[in-house]
Symmetry: C2
Subunit: 370 residues, 2 copies
Amino acid sequence: MVKYNLYRAEDLRNFMVRFFTKLNVSSEDAAIAADVLLSADLRGVESHGIIRLNTYYGSRLKKGLIDPKSPITIINETLTTLALDGGNGLGQVVSKHGMLSCIEKAKANGVSMVTVRNSNHYGIAGYYAMMALEHDMIGISFTNSQPLVAPTYGSAPIIGTNPIAVAVPAKDQRPYVLDMATSIVPIGKVTVYDKAGKDIPAGWGINKLGEVTESPSEVLYGGALMPLGGIDMMAGYKGYGLSLMVDIFSGVLSGAAFGASVGHPSDPKAGSNVGHFFAAVRIDAFRPVEEFKAAMDEYILQLKNSPKAVGHDRIYIHGEKEFERSERYLSEGVPLLGSVASGLNDIGMEVGVPFDCELVKEVMREPLGG
Amino acid sequence: MVKYNLYRAEDLRNFMVRFFTKLNVSSEDAAIAADVLLSADLRGVESHGIIRLNTYYGSRLKKGLIDPKSPITIINETLTTLALDGGNGLGQVVSKHGMLSCIEKAKANGVSMVTVRNSNHYGIAGYYAMMALEHDMIGISFTNSQPLVAPTYGSAPIIGTNPIAVAVPAKDQRPYVLDMATSIVPIGKVTVYDKAGKDIPAGWGINKLGEVTESPSEVLYGGALMPLGGIDMMAGYKGYGLSLMVDIFSGVLSGAAFGASVGHPSDPKAGSNVGHFFAAVRIDAFRPVEEFKAAMDEYILQLKNSPKAVGHDRIYIHGEKEFERSERYLSEGVPLLGSVASGLNDIGMEVGVPFDCELVKEVMREPLGG
């Protein structure tokens, strides 16, 4: 059990906006970046939220490794496609604009796809996919990441944890929101086990020889994560293939870095040239929206009402836990690890933006590790 | 080791064309269906090839459960989208036409997506994705299938093995062709273990209580396959999410059956209302094709030249083994299990189309089980 501090979502957002603007980000762009980071904490993806405010963004803005102006340029454009250059700005800014354009193009022409090169860490993939929901569209969002995963039969990290996010609206049921890394676990989860001195389950990662190891430190220092599926016998080459697919769309099609060349989001010396991919699909181009949404509800209920495995009483749809968490955190407060909160105090002091969010409550609980 | 008979690809194709035309399929449509089935055998996906000629197609054509005319109608059409009704015809016929239209629309407008409802088993997903390659496009193909996989925390098969196929051209390297079921293994692999009296690896499937079992018969009779990833700890909910995603595009968006309602391809009494989804992406809408292909080559070589795990000397790219197998089979002959060849003789006799393919050679080898 660890200590969490609860803060109001609005207070955290305002702090982040002030932090970004102090580092020469426009107030519009600061609001975008803050909103994406906050959405990660609200959904319980702690590893992609405010905890990264300084390491992934602030420290690099200060050094000029991310351009605070986020100057976006158009490389190629058709009625249905757009290839953007993020100008080494904030990943969230070019991604929000990219997905908005994607939705506009899909609205006018049925479907649309947008690529982004020369960008940085964009936060949670699901944020952009979910932007399509209110337009009665299916939204898709991919990004590549620094190399952490070994290909099947390999021993070195060459590909990223490259997430796939897909958001689909339903009628009375909550939307389906898949937002998954293509590795079995994020690297942060291995770090948590390492710090706790615990073994990891066999299959999450390999050592420097490419052998499955239960030692988290062997994975972290010289080893690699395994792709979804794990070893060959359990079809890990499928996870490897999905990770590669995400990078082909995000890195190769966009003209960004790919594979082992993608920079680390907290690299203190160089830009990362991350690439993203977005798509939007207008549902009514295929069938009436109400018919589609009713069928989604029927499918969701079919799954939820199907027989449960021994020891389980509920089947979840993707995104469901995150929607419930989000609603709870918006009313009760957003929990930040005590150590994260004190870190925010330090980085705020450093740039002259005090972390003056009012503490709503302190609670003890298990970390989510997400 | 089992006996395989080798036949010339062209001879097998001709036999299948004669078989289909005898069952009132037009010669054009028969050629399409035969080509898709042959491509599975050439690529080594035995479970989706000529072995299914009667069970999935012939027996159902004879009973009127598949319409030999494959009457295709348009439900909805825009410049970039097309929603088709397959008229309960051959899945291969409407899918080939659907993907051709998809490619034409992408050629004219950058990207395109096509759905199909009211169809039947379409063979291997990769066939249609690969049609995009010669047009310098990325091709995507999904289909749903009869329920075989349990959702995470469930105990009953509600979703299909719903495959994802993505084909991407390279320059001097072979194309990347991902063609994967979203379950860990196909059901046929469990049947092979069952017949051989062998245990399956823990994690492939569950028994009727939803518990992981090493008994193939418990999986086959009352149990279910597990989605890619397997148990929760190994992120099986991601495979479940991908399977659901494929069905949302193939079944829900198209207006076909979905989830537990998708019919079995060898059901002797009813149509299956399978749904498919196709997409094509014009690479030059995003960046020059030659630049893209050179980057693909660079990525492929980066992966292949990366450090190998102990006991391995080669890293594969998706589709590579299948391309090599295909080339070998085209020159040496296509291997069919001895029992499959004699089965073809029987079904040929029954409809008056003798299986008169010349036996090139007999070999003994392990079954691929794919």
